[in-house]
């Protein structure tokens, strides 16, 4: 059976984990050699992407996205990061900021498959639903 990209990424992580940088280089060289031997070099990009995922997972890093209407200042970003760490139980947060005028105000946080919608638009919609009822 063929190994999946995820299996390659996991194997690579396990060989590299805890090794000094000198050995890492030779290990990666060997790994590429194996990939070439198995005709898997075309999938190298996918394996790298998987490897990043594995690395993040093992080290408690989470990629999150914060959408705001008009950008966030530094103090708020710090607060948000703390908030996400408490929500997700991660060690470190890589926060991507995005600006979307459509949400009017507040902030929408996305990480892995979770969404915390604290936007003004969402609140207004909830208010509308409540009033209709």
């Amino acid at each position: 059976m063929k190994n999946t990209t995820k299996q390659y990424a996991l194997a690579l992580y396990e060989t590299l984990d805890g090794k000094p940088s000198g050995q890492v280089k030779t290990a990666i060289k060997k790994f590429v050699g194996i990939l070439a031997g198995k005709n898997m070099l075309i999938k190298a990009d996918e394996i790298v992407a998987e490897f990043v995922k594995v690395w993040h997972e093992k080290n408690g890093i989470i990629e999150a996205e914060a959408v705001s209407a008009s950008g966030l200042d530094k103090a708020n970003v710090k607060l948000l990061k703390k908030y996400i760490i408490s929500l997700a139980g991660a060690k470190e947060i890589l926060l991507n900021e995005k600006i979307d005028k459509n949400i009017l105000g507040g902030v929408v946080i996305r990480y892995s498959d979770k969404v915390v919608d604290g936007s003004l638009r969402n609140s207004l919609e909830e208010l509308r639903d409540k009033l209709i009822k």
């Binding site: 498959d113 609140s123 409540k130």
Partner: protein, 508 residues
Amino acid sequence: MSSTKDFIVEQLKAQIADFKAGVKQETVGRVIEIGDGIARVEGISQVMMSEMLEFKTASGLIYGLALNLEEDRVGAIILGDYFGIKQGDEVRCLNKILEVPVGDGVIGRVVNPLGAAIDGKGEIQADKFYPVEKIAPGVISRESVRQPVQTGIKAIDAIIPIGRGQRELIIGDRQIGKSAIAIDAIINQKGQNMKCIYVAIGQKASKVAGLVAKLEESGALDYTTVVLAGASDPASLLYVAPYAGTAMAEYFLDKGQDVLIVYDDLSKHAVAYREISLLLRRPPGREAYPGDVFYLHSRLLERACKLNQKYGGGSITALPIIETQAGDMSAYIPTNVISITDGQIYLMPELFYQGNRPAVDAGLSVSRVGSSAQIKAMKKVAGKMKLEAAQFRELAAFAQFGSELDKDTKAKLERGKRLMEIFKQDQYSPVPVANQILIFFALVNGLVDDVPVERMSDFELGLYKYAAASGAKILKEIEEKKDLSEKLEAKIKELIRDFKNNLEYLIK
């Protein structure tokens, strides 16, 4: 005027003041692949098996059902039009299983498998919803079948009786009257304290329209619901339809009422499920059906039951229909459903083309539990008839070889011919049980031996008319006492003799 305006404004203000924008964490997924009514979704890590999903599209919300939970993705079927869904659309879990509206509001209506009205008579008025999938009642709450379902079809009520809570399969080739039997049974439930649900799976819309018109005309729509998943509906709706129909039946069951449910037909249901399974890349098995196609039907038909008094005493009688290909009863789906049900009504093409309609094959058809539900009067006459029918079949094959037959055999053949005539019955003309007993009584007691075979149907109709006019008391007594005492038997004999004296073709 202004005071009411102020009042309304005040109230609104109070409501708005009360409002607190709740921020809650939600689990969402994204569509990574869509096509053929199947969506593959990434994320939604908390999703449960057969949970409802909500697809947020540009043109509004579309619902789906999670069927495959895989390592890093979820396979879902789309309930409805999937063309609006695009790659990358947001998907939410609804934390509930698919539900349909139930209650008295669905009676007399035509609904789709999601419970939405499709008969143009306005929205369904229902305040209760039942999940479409439910575990069947257990052993503790059940009891054995003991009340009859009067189908009004002479051949069935006599030889293959059906009881309330039984599952009786109707099986046969295309176009030989499978649906007709089910429709006649529904029409005959008038005044029998029975709710009916007809689930059309993959049927032509024209056929269903004709059927609804017929039910309306005969007054059967007052106690009947039609659940329609037409031939042009997506496979997901065809798959859900019988479960939705059963959920509607379970509402009446829980109220202690009796329900008759017809699944027309389960072969198309299996085909729809096969389509879904193959698109979800589940491994195909025999005839390309997935491995759990037996469970598909067994979990559905197990929900037909007779509950004991402690649990309300209600019942669901199921009449599944299976279409065979060229009489092949040993195909995968027919054998599965035969083994699940409590008997089958087998329709023979040969009989149908000979003009014996309904084309019920008395030899291959069985009812495993129904005979204990027959009323005593019927049991008395039908027991003898079963024997007559069996003997006739044997002798008819034998008699083709030679013409030299003894007197006894000839008599049996003659009576058998009349029996076959009695079993012939037009569509949409169910016969009340008292009338059935009357004509069967006449046959087994040799009172019709002198009626010419070709005049049998005239004789039968005449007898019903005569009994209604001058023997109404006797009919009522049969219906009420449900038994034949010697006194009553004598009265019936006299009634039939009186009737025969009026017939010119019998007066010599």
